[in-house]
């Protein structure tokens, strides 16, 4: 079955950069984009999404809020929060929501751990 | 530094070709060569475009030194012989002499591949026929790379290695900087010997690692906390570390400058904190003095590189303009303050002027108060090492002078009417002016002076009236004053000049005069500029220091190239030897030797320029010396050039180093030859002259008296004024642009200055060049010491030699030579090993010692040796030692000196000769 990743970031450039990184690591994954939290919720309602990568600093609801909401709804979904705001508080909150923290700028190096972990988890037989 | 090929270095390139190139290429070629753009020039007249010239940027780009590229086709840079579209395109374009640009995959000397963007153009001669081809190269690999991170890594690795290498070389060459490395995880500090010596630490312990607290232990209490904060920053990831602080060792305070960097691991955690430490105590003193002088004298300084949008400025500069203190200001901001009718403060933005001095006066509107002030600027243009023109100058406020000048004009008018009609206002001005105001009669004597005369110079009015101006002038400036006065009395217009006036107490004061003749009398206004003169001296000094800095960078680059040659050659040999292949070992050794010799030649040139070479000055007969090299000269000059030797009768003997003098004359003759491509006449003359202090104004150490003049005159092309002005400049002459000025002029200059003489040069474009060397006269007869015998090294007979040398490589070499020649050598590194032996009863035949040792100097050790062994012969080895620059003063009887680098044979011969003469002289010392 095809894997779908949703990239949530208000910056188009950031979405392109993250998209390229994902494409390099997992060429087969299908990529969807959303420009803010509400849009992301709408996309998820419309299509099945397996993996989510969320920017923290966005207009409207911030990325951690969204991550926490999604975690409530999808306990096993691989979620990452990507931000240059590397404050210990932010890292801790991401951890508390069981989301992976990726420092911006996002590079293959930085995203590899999360993406390959997600791929492994998705390939495992689902309950 | 790779130059446009000179015949000395590349005898295979005819000088005619070089001159054509210079004529066709002109100044833009100069500029390109000096720029950061890599360029190659090939000869289009010869088959397959052999390389005639490459610049330093090319050497840096490809890793190939010029010597390895010359004569080859550029194709050698291509790693594969495979045909490509780009190569075909280049071939086609070359066939029709059309310009072409193409990207080719090339290989650096170290094997690394890179994409080279080549743009080739054909240079045509006066008749339109192709003569040369010029290509620029640029590394465009980044356009071909796919992964930015990998690209970055490669680039930073290369530049890091480069920086470290440079650092190491500069350090060892200059012996000035100490290096440290702080391992963050293990909390250990490793430092080199120089660092240890600045900090008063033991060198061996520092090299093997100390607890990091050692970094702060010697630091002055007041600076320690701030240093700790800065270091804490670096340890937590701050990249830039730069701190000046004081270190206290044995109660002595030294200022040091520490510059460092933090290196991160892959996960961006700080790994190491490393940097270099320089002792800046002296520099600091100069800077402080300069700063005080500048603020006290209200002189602001600035430096502007043509083409840039900003100028570097001093605090006082900003203050004079009413701006907030800053280190750099946009030129637009500066010039906008200048009155629109007056000349701009910073001129030459397009870099059209490249040398000479400039001074102008202008009005500004102060940025803070809006007040209008008059400022004057004085400065100097010079060529920057990296290309471009640098304008350095000072500004100062002349508003009061300007007002006084206006007042003086007024005064002059009124005086013409009637003296009684002076108004009160004029009286006040006359009385209160800080500037000297006066009237001089047609007899050259003072008729009226204002009270400022008494205030500044101490003489009272009664003493002054009726005194001639000359009598009030400093004796050395009296001639200048007299000639200005004479011209003015003949009705010549206004004169402006600076001379020293004599105060009542006898001290000189510099006064800047503006003098106007009017109706038979002369009206003068003089301003005290003593302070400013001092500053100008200091400015010159600080420029010199900067030049040294620039020079160091250039040398590091050159040395890197040469070291690459040496190390690479040795490494290849080592590999071959380990493979048991000895067939072409010689070739690599030869290459390493050549690089080594080039390096030796460079240090020699530098020492000569800095007047620090070891000179063996002794009385000599110039005529005899010139005749002895006459044959060599004739051969060098060739048949087209007539050599005339014209030695005056009864020539005095002179004092100089004969080897250096020979090479100076030879160098000049070679320059002359190059300036006479179509033949001509070279005259070498000698005569006795007497030089006054004024004649020697530009000499470093010359004193008025008798000199022997050596004149080298040719009938060649001559030099234009701007070239002449820079003829002795090492930056200029090491990049000779074709005619006349050869590599050696700065060297000749340095040598003669060090010999307490002087050099003068006269040249006009089209009518030849005359260079006069003045050597101090020797009172007495020339030495009759015969030429040194040059015997082959004879084997020794088991004599005992004590060797003191701290450099293990040199020590190994010396010991090896001695052992092979059959001497018994005792090996020591410094006074700790050597003194016990010297003071023991051991039999010694000879002491060989380095001069500059880490602890006690070689000279001191020799004294200790002589205390118990009076006749012990001593041979010093030195690369450069300030004290050894004058051999006669440095050496006692039975002591000799050999300069590093030396050939193995040379050392053998010297040891042999010393021991043989000693054997003849008397019993050996116990």
């Amino acid at each position: 079955m095809e894997t779908t990743v949703l990239i949530v970031d208000d910056s188009k450039l950031a979405r392109i950069v993250v998209g390229k990184v994902v494409a390099a690591l997992q060429p087969d994954w299908q990529r969807l984009e959303a420009g803010n939290a509400d849009e992301a919720v709408a996309v998820i309602a419309a299509k099945p999404v397996d993996v989510v990568i969320i920017d923290f600093n966005m207009p409207g609801r911030d990325g951690l809020d969204l991550a926490e909401e999604l975690r409530g709804r999808f306990p096993a979904m691989p979620i990452a929060v990507a931000t240059a705001n590397i404050q210990d508080e932010i890292v801790d909150r991401a951890r508390a929501a069981n989301a992976t923290f990726i420092a911006k700028p996002v590079t293959e190096e930085g995203a590899r751990g999360f993406i390959s972990g997600a791929a492994l988890r998705l390939r495992a037989p689902r309950p | 530094m790779s130059d446009i090929p000179t015949p000395e270095r590349h005898p295979d390139i005819p000088s005619r070709r070089r001159q054509e190139l210079a004529a066709l290429g002109g100044p833009w070629l100069e500029a390109l060569t000096a720029s950061a753009v890599a360029i190659v020039l090939t000869d289009a007249l010869l088959p397959d475009d052999p390389i005639l010239h490459v610049n330093p940027a090319f050497e840096a780009l490809t890793g190939y030194p010029a010597a390895e590229a010359l004569g080859r086709n550029c194709r050698f840079l291509q790693p594969e012989p495979a045909e490509t579209e780009a190569r075909a395109r280049i071939r086609e374009a070359l066939a029709t002499d059309a310009p072409v640009t193409a990207d080719l995959l090339n290989r650096r000397r170290d094997g690394e591949r890179f994409w080279n963007r080549i743009s080739i153009a054909t240079i045509r001669d006066g008749h339109g026929a192709p003569a040369f081809r010029l290509a620029t190269q640029a590394d465009v690999s980044s356009e071909y790379a796919d992964d930015p991170a990998a690209r970055e890594l490669r680039a930073s690795r290369r530049s890091l290695a480069e920086v470290q290498e440079r650092l190491r070389v500069v350090q060892s060459v200059a012996g000035a900087a100490g290096a440290w490395e702080w391992d963050i995880a293990s909390k250990r500090l490793v430092a080199d010997a120089r660092f240890a010596s600045i900090y008063g630490l033991d060198a061996a312990t520092a090299a093997s690692g100390l607890p990091t607290a050692a970094f702060f232990a010697a630091v002055h209490e007041e600076d320690r906390m701030r240093l700790r904060i800065a270091v804490a920053g670096a340890l937590h990831g701050a990249e830039v570390f730069a701190r000046d602080y004081r270190v206290v060792v044995d109660g002595e305070i030294r200022w040091v400058a520490a510059r460092g960097r933090t290196y991160l691991d892959a996960a961006e955690r700080p790994l190491r904190f490393a940097g270099v430490l320089t002792d800046i105590t002296d520099q600091r003193k100069v800077e402080e003095r300069l700063h005080i002088a500048q603020t006290a004298g209200e002189v602001g300084s600035f430096e502007y590189v043509a083409g840039y949008g900003t100028a570097e400025v001093s605090e006082q500069f900003c203050r004079l303009l009413g701006l907030r203190p800053a280190q750099s200001l946009p030129v637009r901001t500066i010039n906008a303050l200048v009155h629109p009718e007056d000349p701009a403060l910073i001129q030459n933005r397009d870099g059209r002027i490249s040398s000479g001095t400039a001074s102008h006066e202008f009005r500004i509107t102060r940025a803070d108060t809006g007040e209008e002030r008059w400022l004057a600027s004085r400065g100097e243009y010079r060529a920057g090492l990296a290309g471009g023109t640098i304008f350095t100058g000072v500004i100062y406020d002349i508003t009061t002078t300007k007002r006084s000048e206006a007042a003086l004009r007024l005064l002059t008018e009124k005086l013409e009417e009637r003296v009684e009609e002076r108004t009160q206002e004029r009286d006040r001005l006359w009385n209160l002016s800080r500037d000297l105001l006066n009237v001089i009669g047609p007899d050259g004597r003072l008729r009226a002076v204002n009270p400022a005369w008494t205030r500044l110079l101490g003489h009272d009015e009664a003493e002054l009236i009726g005194t001639s101006i000359e009598a009030l002038t400093h004796p050395e400036d009296a001639a200048t004053a007299r000639s200005h006065l004479a011209h003015l009395l003949h009705g010549e217009a206004i004169a402006e000049f600076d001379i020293r006036m004599r105060t009542k107490g006898g001290d000189p004061r510099w006064v800047s005069w503006t003098v106007v003749p009017e109706g038979g009398a002369i009206y003068g206004i003089g301003r005290d500029v003593t302070q400013r003169k001092l500053l100008e001296d200091q400015l010159r000094q600080s420029q010199k220091m900067e030049a040294v800095g620039q020079l160091t960078g250039g040398i590091a680059h050159d040395f890197n190239n040469m070291l690459t040659g040496i190390l690479g050659g040795i490494d290849m040999v080592r590999r071959r030897v380990s493979q048991g292949r000895l067939d072409d070992v010689d070739r690599f050794l030869e290459a390493a030797m050549q690089s080594g010799q080039r390096a030796a030649a460079l240090t020699h040139r530098l020492l000569a320029f800095s007047r620090r070479q070891t000179l063996d000055s002794r009385p000599l007969d110039v005529a005899v010396l010139v005749r002895s090299i006459e044959d060599l000269l004739r051969r060098t000059l060739g048949e087209q050039i007539e050599l005339v030797i014209d030695m005056g009768p009864d020539l005095w003997s002179a004092v100089a180093d004969d080897n250096q003098l020979e090479s100076a004359i030879l160098n000049l003759a070679i320059n002359s030859r190059d300036a006479m491509p179509d033949g001509g006449r070279l005259t070498i003359g000698g005569r006795n002259v007497h030089l006054s202090a004024t004649d020697l104004a530009h000499s470093d150490r010359g004193e008025a008296g008798d000199y022997v003049e050596i004149r080298v005159a040719d009938t060649g092309l001559g030099m234009p004024a701007d070239v002449l002005a820079k003829a002795f400049d090492p930056f200029y002459t090491t990049k000779p642009q074709g005619q006349g000025t050869g590599l050696g002029l700065s060297m000749v200059y340095g040598f003669i200055q060090q010999s307490r003489g002087d050099v003068m040069i006269e040249s006009r474009e089209g009518s030849g060049t005359t260079i006069r060397l003045f050597l101090p006269r020797h009172h007495g007869a020339p030495d009759e010491t015969p030429a040194k015998p040059r015997a082959a090294a004879l084997p020794g007979t088991g004599e005992t030699v004590l060797v003191i040398e701290d450099d293990p490589a040199v020590r190994l070499l010396v010991l090896q030579v001695l052992q092979e020649l059959g001497y018994r050598a005792i090996e020591t590194a410094d006074e700790r090993d050597a003194v016990p032996i010297l003071q023991s009863a051991r039999h010694l035949d000879l002491l060989i010692s380095d001069v500059g040792l880490p602890g006690m100097s070689g000279r001191r050790l020799a004294e200790i040796a002589r205390a118990s062994r009076p006749g012990l012969p001593v041979l010093f080895m030195t690369g450069y030692a300030r004290e050894a620059a004058d051999q006669a003063q440095f050496l006692d009887a039975g002591m000799e000196i050999i300069t590093k680098p030396f050939a193995v044979d040379e050392l053998g011969q010297r040891v042999n000769r010393i021991l043989r003469t000693k054997g003849m002289a008397g019993p050996s010392s116990e």
Binding site: S11, K12, L13, I16, V17, N57, M58, P59, T83, A84, N85, I86, Q87, D88, E89, I90, K104, P105, T107 | S142, D146, P148, A149, R151, E152, A155, S156, S159, K187, P211, T212, A213, F216, M225, R226, R228, I229, A230, V231, A232, G233, L235, H236, G237, A238, E239, V240, A242, T262, L264, E268, T310, L323, R324, A326, S328, L329, P330, R332, T333
Partner: protein, 213 residues
């Protein structure tokens, strides 16, 4: 000079400079990753000036038009961080960071957007690192692009409404190797938070000095 006020001790200045140095080094590392180029930094300058003084400082350095990405921060200390560079460098910077991800036309179209994201990454890394060093959280606003000459930029930058307030002005020059791009990272802080900062700095000094040897 009346608009120069110095309420900071030398030692605190040093510590603050180092703090900024650490933050900016991290920011430079981010910029380096984005641009795939060497980024060179100057030693930071730090001045305590009036608002007018800060405007003058930039105005005297840059006479042309500038672009800035600004981001406000709030917490135990508050202020505004700016990434400033000459307008003429803007496209080159965008091209450097967008690199092969975008065509030239796309890059031109997205200029402001790309600048915002660049500023976001650079300023966030800097501020977050500083917050971590001080062990106090900071909230950051969304980044915003501002254009104008030096004067214009600073007139917009009234962080608080009080007139004549004193601000802490920090700036660092940076240059991107191989491309002709240079600029400043600047930070403006209010006086009330300046006092809060002093306390933090004192704490910071004690902490970092403690664990360095």
């Amino acid at each position: 000079m009346s608009d120069h006020v110095v309420p900071l001790e030398e030692m605190e200045r040093d510590a603050l400079t180092e703090l900024v140095n650490i933050g900016v080094s991290r920011a430079a590392a981010s910029l380096r990753k984005m641009a795939g180029q060497q980024v060179l930094l100057s030693v930071p300058s730090l001045e305590v000036v009036t608002r007018g003084g800060a405007a003058t400082l930039i105005r005297e350095r840059e006479s042309g038009d500038l672009v800035a990405v600004r981001q406000d921060f709030e917490g135990v200390f508050s202020g505004r961080a700016l990434l400033i560079f000459p307008e003429s460098n803007s496209m080159a910077l965008v091209r450097a960071v967008a690199g092969s991800a975008l065509s030239d036309a796309e890059a031109a179209e997205m200029e402001d957007e790309a600048l915002t994201e660049t500023g976001n990454v650079v300023l966030n890394s800097c501020l977050a690192t500083m917050a971590n060093m001080l062990q106090r959280p900071l909230t950051m606003s969304l980044p915003q692009v501002v254009r104008g000459n030096g004067v214009g930029l600073f007139e917009l930058m009234q962080v608080s409404t009080e007139e004549g307030g004193v601000v802490l002005f920090l700036y660092i020059n940076f240059a991107i190797n191989d491309r002709d791009i240079r600029g400043y990272i600047a930070m403006l802080m209010d006086l009330p938070s300046l006092q809060a900062l002093r306390l933090l700095i004192t704490e910071f000094i004690r902490r970092v000095i403690g664990d360095e040897v």
